[in-house]
Amino acid sequence: MARHEGRGMASVNYPIGMNLGGDPSQALIHSNPDGKFTVALSAIDLGQGMKQVSRQIAAETLGVPIEDVYVDTADSDTGPHDMGSFASRGTHRMGNAIIVAAREARGVLLEAAAEELEVNAADLVTDGRGNIHVRGAPSRSITVKATAQAAQFKQGKTIAGRGIFLIPLSAVDAETGEMNPNTAFAHACLVADVCVDDETGEVEVLRMTSAYELGRVINPRMVEQQLVGGAWMGISHALYETPEPYYPNPEHGPRDFNEYLMPGPGDIAPYHVTVLERPAPDGPFGGKGPGEMCANPVLPAIANAVYNAVGVRVDELPITPEKILRGLKANGGVKPGPRRGGPVNWR
């Protein structure tokens, strides 16, 4: 009786946004008289960071400090329509709507500043620290705050913008499946190292190594949060979770977290992610969306690693000790696959 190490991999891509389009997002942005901006949306923050992504995109486009932007979502009386936070669509769709709205607000901001500085708005730039100045002449400047006050109380201008982003709805051909699906795809490859106990059938995930291409990373800490959390969900899908353990038999449904198996803190594997950025041509600053895909390569990579370790193919999830032991019995014992590479290049 022994423990056997194995290594498996998987590579995937993932479509960003509702598959057929037709899923608009809108944003409204306005400044208060002190040059502080509110972004009004109906996007949903599930914990994934929608508010912060929106805030960074708005601040970047407006050219103002991030502290001067606050995202207000979601109140149907004040936030314009948005399809919702699903289908990895938040960053891509809402981000683009915010860019449109912020550009319009920025346009008014620069016009108001131009009027104060008596220059052409086209000659103005923002420094991202709350100032607007003439390109190449930083001394000819005005603060965003003073500009907003002048716009509000002197010039009678609303520093505001509105934006919508919509990929038009595509039809699907009944006979060929031809369609215009998603416009942006993210990519990933993941290697899982596992250890399989041939006596108990238990699988321990030793470590995982992955590379994700996500378009422009808007906030690397939030990308990390998504990818690491999603990998945990992937381990859980692969090895633990199911409400119907003998599907399609509908019985034995769990009623709480005591009965619904998921990995605990001791089952979380060390994980290294490398992020690549190939900007999406139509993404906000090239951003795509890591929300959904981050569990996907984990499931097959673990299944392939189990096969590499002991020679048992488990084609029905989750990969329970019972299935492994039955597989070992059917195979007449452990049949390890070829060793693949050496120790990982990270720690």
């Binding site: 479509p15 598959n19 949903i44 914990g47 149907s76 709805l169 906030n219 590479g341």
Partner: protein, 583 residues
């Protein structure tokens, strides 16, 4: 335990990294609230006189309802109202009716039969949760159990119990023609015939709970002037609002939804499981109503990720090239459609995975079974098929006696490759992901694999072509006998029947329009003889916000707008929100 690094050297020439705050790990605006428990979720709102709603659920997987007796429950302590199907103004809905996809098939409260264990039949509104639960036990429902079906393939066979009367064949109906969604590209049979190795395997994805920390729920309260305030955990605020307005039959502006801060959601909070009955209860009682699933309800009756059964048949050459792939997949929708119908379309677009294969076909079915309806969950339409595809790829590598990484790189799709849904791939990066993961994992690659690139080799020769394609009329609605029908037609190479996508619409961007929008001035507030307003020229922003990446080539210049500019619904519709609009 977890570390992340950025490879800024890859695709560097496609990015401008000189940005101000994009790409920075700045702290989230909501994080201090989350970690100090100041954040308010939907259930952190208290109302005087709030009622609690609980539902009586079916104990049977499938049964006729012969009689419902709520008289004892109505007299129970604290009970203020009992709701039955007849009280629901529009007691049949399907979520995607909001985008005109599918037929209304699911009642809010079952009337004549139940199709899954846990289906709501009666709702009780009482002063306390305990009183509501106690009254639920007093409801007498006389059921006549029916045979049930749980297997996604058994349910499609003639003679299987009808799960969902709206779809009597137990499958979602596509294009009013077929019992599944087809994908046809090239000739898979010829591909298999010419392959060195043909293998077919069956994969089964398990259902999964969403298990959000915050269970599904909502609080509805009469606001004023016939409006209702709803604190919601919906993942799509207007989705939930629209669904609720339809079911309780009110105008959308009679509903005021507040949400946006949700305690976890992976798709299960798109379903609007509680909002319609909470609002209906508030309308009928005039009191605030809280309808929240407890953990057991969330586990047993909150929609799960549907199980999927997937068959993959591949034709492989000994050198590792995949020459044909056929996928047949069955989504387990449970008793009602919810969002499963859409997943099959998304799955179809995803086939055959991130690889270029010259002959591809798929048949994706959505099957109804007598279990809790499933719904969208993280990776909807893709996660399960990715599991199947990538285990299959591992098998192909073994069969070709090839390293699994090398097999992926050999078959990876690249820029310019034609995908089976008849659109060319762009912006691909699978090869680079495999190379980088191999490097970090210390998994040796051949020199050839290391030199491969997503930018090289794609779209060459037949890789950019739409091949002649075999069509069939298999699986016509109501004709299971047609499932083994012959090829009916060969579509000539290069055929496209769906018009290419229009450019994305980004209305509102002044620098995206042909001519700058004039900004109207408020003359009374202006000094005499003001200088003409400077025509707004979009200044190149200092940090180039999205300038390189927003909807790519400027769409062909539309005719210059005639003054006054065409009404644009964004401005008109929301003109009252922020006061004066420039128009």
């Amino acid at each position: 335990m977890a570390t992340m690094e950025m490879r800024k050297d890859l695709f560097a020439d496609e990015r401008d990294d000189n940005l101000n705050v994009i790409g920075k790990g700045v702290q989230r605006q909501d994080m201090p609230g989350h970690v100090t428990a100041r954040t308010r979720f939907f259930d952190d709102h208290a109302f005087d006189g709030m009622l609690h709603l609980k539902v009586v659920r079916s104990p049977h997987h499938h049964a006729r309802i012969r009689a419902i007796d709520t008289s004892a429950a109505e007299r129970a302590p604290g009970v203020k109202r009992v709701l039955r199907g007849a009280d629901v103004p529009v007691n049949k809905n399907t979520l995607l009716s909001l985008i005109n996809f599918g037929k209304d098939d699911e009642p809010s409260l079952a009337v004549s039969k139940v199709s899954y264990k846990g289906e709501p039949v009666v709702a009780i509104l009482a002063d306390s949760e305990a009183q509501a639960l106690a009254a639920c036990k007093l409801v007498r429902i006389d059921y006549d159990p029916l045979p049930a079906v749980f297997d996604v393939e058994e349910t499609l066979k003639p003679g299987a119990p009808v799960v969902n009367e709206t779809y009597p064949g137990n499958y979602f109906e596509y294009h009013e023609r077929f019992d599944h969604q087809k994908l046809r590209f090239g000739d898979v049979e010829r591909g298999f015939a010419g392959a060195d190795i043909v293998m077919e395997h069956r994969y089964q994805m398990s259902p999964i709970e969403h298990a959000p920390t915050e269970t599904n729920g909502s609080i509805a309260a009469p606001e004023q002037n016939g409006r209702y305030l709803v604190h919601s955990c919906a993942q799509g605020l207007f989705f939930a609002l629209g669904t609720t307005a339809k079911i309780v039959d009110v105008e959308s502006n009679q509903l005021h939804f507040i949400g946006g801060t949700v305690g976890g959601g992976f798709g299960g909070k798109v379903d609007s499981l509680t909002e319609p009955l909470a609002v209906l209860g508030a309308m009928l009682t005039g009191r605030p109503v809280r309808f929240v699933l407890d953990r057991e309800e969330e586990m047993l009756y909150g929609s799960p990720r549907g199980a999927e059964r997937i068959y993959i048949k591949d034709g492989l050459m000994r050198d590792g090239r995949i020459v044909a792939r056929h996928i047949r997949s069955y989504f387990d929708a449970g008793a009602y459609t919810r969002l499963s119908s859409y997943a099959a379309i998304k799955c179809t677009a995803h086939v055959p995975g991130p690889y270029w294969i010259p002959n591809v076909a798929s048949d994706i079915y959505v099957s109804y079974t007598n279990r809790c309806p499933s719904t969208a969950m993280r990776g909807f339409g893709v996660t399960a098929v990715d599991f199947a595809l990538e285990v299959q790829m591992d098998r192909l590598a073994e069969a070709a006696n090839m390293d699994p990484m090398e097999l992926r790189i050999l078959n990876a799709y690249r820029d310019g490759d034609m995908k089976p849904h008849r659109r060319a791939a762009k912006n691909t990066a699978l090869v680079e992901c495999v190379q980088v993961a191999a490097e970090k994992a210390n998994w040796p690659l051949s020199e050839q694999a290391k030199r491969a690139s997503s930018l090289i080799g794609g779209g060459a020769g037949e890789r950019s072509q739409i091949p002649a394609t075999q069509l069939d009329a298999r699986g016509q609605i109501g004709r299971p006998d047609s499932r083994n029908g012959p090829v009916t037609q060969v579509l000539p190479a290069g055929t496209s029947r769906i018009a290419p996508s229009k450019q994305p619409v980004m209305e509102g961007a002044r620098d995206g329009r042909a001519t700058p929008t004039q900004v109207p001035r408020y003359e009374p507030q202006r000094p005499a003889a003001p200088p003409p307003p400077p025509a707004y020229q979009p200044a190149p922003p200092p940090y180039q916000p999205a300038s390189s990446y927003s909807p790519p080539p400027a769409p062909p210049a539309p005719p210059p707008p005639v003054a006054p500019a065409q009404p644009q619904h964004g401005a008109v519709r929301f003109s009252s929100v922020f006061g004066t609009r420039r128009r």
